[in-house]
């Protein structure tokens, strides 16, 4: 694994060794202890470091056109950040398509600042302008904290993306026969010790879709929804979903519409 930190390597040893020596404690007490651990981490979420950087990037004059993002239209009008996150993905008439936050940031970086969107999309997560998008995502999300998801479904293309997204969610493939639904379509399931939200319900989609972007303590990175979906498909043993591609946006619409009414806690902190 490329993200082999000391802690990870050692943690793997721990799983093989000392976990086996843990008393076969009732699963509930383990769950309680883990809940306590998460509570201890909730205050002081390093995602705040990305929020600060993103806010700075939003206002900064950058790129070949020497412009800031301050006129970027995220759906609520040019420059309006507050409340935009909980209404995305949505239809944009200037590009004539449904876009999620990351797709839309690419558009603004290209039209306002003169960056090459295709090149930025190809950049690996956590590098170069892709890393800058991650900070911008953290900032934009933070400006809708505690607001309820309310994705529009008035444009026919938005309804199409919901319907196709739902079908893509159940699409099985690859050598393991997995779909998103393999792990995320029943209540109360776990993979190893990790709780799996049922993303087909309002509550589950609110908890799942509604907590990305998030800081991941396992690797010290801030993961956006695109990064989350990308890694889900990696673990489904699928090929590589292109950044901001139709499949990823359609899934965002399906999950976001399903989550309607749930309050956003993004950027959250995750295992």
């Amino acid at each position: 694994m490329k993200r082999l930190t000391l802690a990870r390597a050692c943690a793997a040893l721990a799983a093989a060794g000392s976990i086996a020596s843990l008393p076969a404690a009732a699963q509930t007490s383990t769950a309680d202890a883990i809940a306590e651990y998460r509570t201890m981490l909730a205050d002081g979420n390093p995602a705040d470091l990305w929020v600060a950087k993103g806010e700075e990037l939003w206002k900064k004059v950058r790129g070949p056109k020497n412009a800031s993002m301050a006129r970027c239209d995220l759906g609520r009008g040019p420059g309006v950040v507050k409340g935009a996150f909980v209404e995305l993905p949505r239809y944009f008439s200037d590009t004539a398509r449904v876009q999620d936050l990351e797709s839309r940031l690419l558009t603004c970086m290209e039209t306002l600042q003169g960056f090459n969107a295709a090149e930025v999309a190809k950049t690996p997560f956590g590098r170069g302008e892709k890393a800058n998008i991650e900070s911008l995502v953290a900032y934009v999300a933070s400006e809708s904290r505690d607001m309820a998801f309310n994705l529009p479904q008035s444009h026919p293309d938005e309804r199409t993306m919901y319907e196709t997204g739902k079908r893509i969610f159940f699409y099985r493939g690859g050598p393991y026969d997995f779909s998103c639904a393999s792990c995320h379509a029943s209540d109360g399931k776990r993979i190893r010790l990790q709780d799996l939200p049922n993303l087909t319900t309002q509550k589950g989609a609110g908890a799942g879709f509604g907590s990305w972007p998030a800081y991941r303590v396992s690797n010290g990175q801030l993961w956006t929804m695109q990064h989350r979906l990308n890694d889900c498909y990696r673990q489904q043993r699928f090929p590589f979903p292109e950044y901001a591609s139709e499949v990823t946006v359609a899934l965002g619409v399906y999950l976001g519409v399903t989550a309607r009414g749930a309050e956003s806690i993004a950027p959250a902190i995750k295992r």
Binding site: Y171, P175, Y233
Partner: protein, 216 residues
């Protein structure tokens, strides 16, 4: 193709009816979301590492099991029969391997992703979804608990002829779980060559060997 054909006929029929009754223009047929979703699956991905584009090409079973509701029994029965026919017994005739190697496989959740080395063996991924030995508290619950799998099924000696039916069923389940439940979430480890014969034998031992921690 057939479906589309039917739709256009229906549209013509509706249009004719509309003309006759003097109503407004007919409504367009409902969009074919299934087809649109399939098209997106083909254009939104690219090959990466060992994960090539053939992986979004569905086989008939994957296609039939790709919606929120399970297909009717008439369909699942046929699928199960087809899958049952794929199961091959071990070439060596030997069903049971080494439970210690099986345990390592059960713990291992790696393999076949675009970031895994193509030549590296896959893990069994068992603990992701199943409880097995009591000593491992980090287990998933997507599948049923397999704690005391062999013991609860009365397997005292897997080599005993009395255990043959259970041994062969378990082999079949690992080889192609879809033979017993068409839209099961469990991968077809033997059928899709995720695991080789030796690995399957070792997992068999982990489940069925009376000395395995699973059966303590």
């Amino acid at each position: 193709m057939t479906l589309k054909h039917h739709l256009s006929i229906a549209a013509v029929a509706t249009a004719a009816a509309a003309v006759v009754s003097g109503c407004a223009a007919p409504r367009a047929p409902a969009p074919d979301y299934d087809k649109m979703a399939d098209a997106m699956m083909k254009t939104s991905f690219r090959a990466q590492g060992q994960a090539k584009m053939d992986r979004v090409q569905q086989d008939p079973l994957q296609d039939a099991c790709s919606s929120a509701t399970a297909p009717p029994e008439s369909v699942t029965k046929k699928l199960e029969a087809t899958q049952l026919a794929t199961i091959k017994p071990p070439a060596s005739g030997q069903y049971i391997g080494d439970w210690k190697s099986g345990e390592k496989l059960a713990e291992n959740g790696r393999g076949m992703t675009w970031s895994d080395k193509p030549e590296a063996d896959s893990g069994g991924n068992c603990y992701n979804c199943h409880e097995l030995a009591k000593s491992q508290i980090s287990y998933g619950t997507i599948g049923p608990s397999l704690y005391r799998y062999g013991k609860l099924r009365g397997v005292q000696n897997p080599a005993d002829p009395g255990s043959a039916a259970m041994v062969q069923y378990t082999w079949g389940k690992l080889y192609n779980a879809k033979a017993y439940s068409a839209c099961s979430e469990m991968p077809r480890f033997g059928h899709f060559k995720v695991l080789n014969e030796k690995q399957l034998q070792d997992l068999m031992a982990y489940l069925l060997d009376p000395k395995s921690p699973v059966n303590q």
